[in-house]
Amino acid sequence: MNETLKLTLIAIGILLALLTIAAGLIWVERRMLAAWQDRYGPNRVGPFGILQVVADMIKMFFKEDWIPPFADKSVFILAPAIVMVTILLSFVIIPFAPGILVADINIGLLFFLAMSSLGAYSVVLGGWASNNKYSLLGAVRGAAQMISYEVFMGLSVMGVVIMAGSFNMTDIVLAQKNVWFFIPQFLGFVIFFIAGIAETHRLPFDIPEAESELIAGYHSEYSGMKFGMFFVGEYLGITLISALITTLFFGGWLGFGFLPPVVWFLIKMFAFILFFILLRASLPRPRYDQLMSFGWKILLPLSLLNLLVTGALVLYFT
């Protein structure tokens, strides 16, 4: 009983913390983008403008939640829920610190890959149900992009799995006691990061949304809190990819002692989140075919090579 209660409390705590982080990231992103563009960003509401998040939330809740009459209503409502559910479920496997995780399952990494594949449905269904040309184009692009980048995402983490000898996230972290995996697996890290950007369809790979071409892509027709769910889902996705990079390549909660493990984890995670924002501030969006050929012609061979070499070396030395 006590054990169940503890697990429930941890799960709820993580959920609340994540939602707070994701909402706070809206402000962080705006401030950081502004900092990199020689502006101030929102700095009026509350100290340093931090209450801007609250203002945005209130605005979002009170916006008219409009469903276009030509849309496929049930699917239209379902799509934004899928993105939240799949991403929040993916967090189940992330060990924030020893003891602070929801489920210590032995197929951890596979569970994440499965969830992120399901996440592609929200883009596809959202675009399809909107019954709008731009949304459909965005959805088609999103589907192609997410499915192809999933391939190398899976392949690039296999090096880590080989070195740790387990799919379990806790074991992967513990296997990094001596050296963090981003040193032996540097190629894998770079590929995973690029695939992660494509997976969360963030700039520069925001091709399914591509404001300048497709209005807002697959969520053009969404308003009110349904749009808010896509919006928060995007930030949750950034948090998820950053948390995964931290866990897989940068030693998770392992740090240098003088701070509690969870703080180390958060520091590393935020560093990657900020890097995501920096990417957005500095890089232009590639063309759609460039993205595809970059993926299949460069990243796929590289990740296969990485897998091959890692496998051979591990076999040779053990």
């Binding site: 900092a35 990199w36 020689d38 502006r39 101030y40 920096l278 990417l279 500095s282 890089l283």
Partner: protein, 171 residues
């Protein structure tokens, strides 16, 4: 590849640059003197209204937001009976100022005209007319030339010759 990393680094360095934002309500941006903002009606050096009610500004206005009615005083001097500018439609293009033959209508560097009620953006002549000469000093339309409307006698304008007695103009 190298160029991507370079642009990331350069963007990062912008964090330490000076901000270009002017934090407006506390700190005001310097406006050039010929900035096109709120419209005023000016007076000539004698303190009389410059506007002669010629309707050229109303005709030039691309959004038709000027309405006026010309009338005359006892000396035959023309002036607008009412002069109304609807600032909720004005696009601050400055065409009215260009069209005006008497420098009466002028755009000044002021843009703080926010109102809660749209009707308050309709400015009447009392709101538009100022006591001074605005941007163009020392110009008095009626002193230059033209008919006698109680400002100067016939032929006494600054750019005017004495009237010619046509009966003496014999070949």
């Amino acid at each position: 590849m190298f160029s991507i990393i370079r642009s990331l680094w350069l963007t990062f360095l912008h964090m330490f640059h000076k901000r270009v934002t002017i934090e407006y309500p506390e700190e005001k941006a310097p406006l050039p003197p010929r900035w096109r903002g709120r419209i005023i009606l000016s007076r000539d050096p004698d303190g009389m209204e410059r506007c002669v009610g010629c309707y050229l500004c109303a005709a030039a206005c691309p959004v038709d937001c000027i309405a006026l009615q010309a009338t005359e005083d006892e000396n035959g001097r023309r002036y607008p009976e009412f002069f109304r500018i609807n600032f909720s439609r004005c696009i601050f293009c400055g065409y009215c100022e260009d069209a005006c033959p008497t420098y009466a209508i002028q755009l000044i560097p002021d843009f703080e005209m926010g109102e809660y009620d749209r009707q308050n953006l309709v400015y009447e002549k009392e709101d538009l007319l100022i006591a001074g000469q605005g941007k163009y000093h020392g110009y008095n339309y009626y002193r230059e030339a033209g008919v006698d409307v109680g400002v100067k006698g016939k032929g006494e304008g600054e750019n005017e010759d004495k009237p010619v007695d046509v009966r003496t103009l014999m070949p």
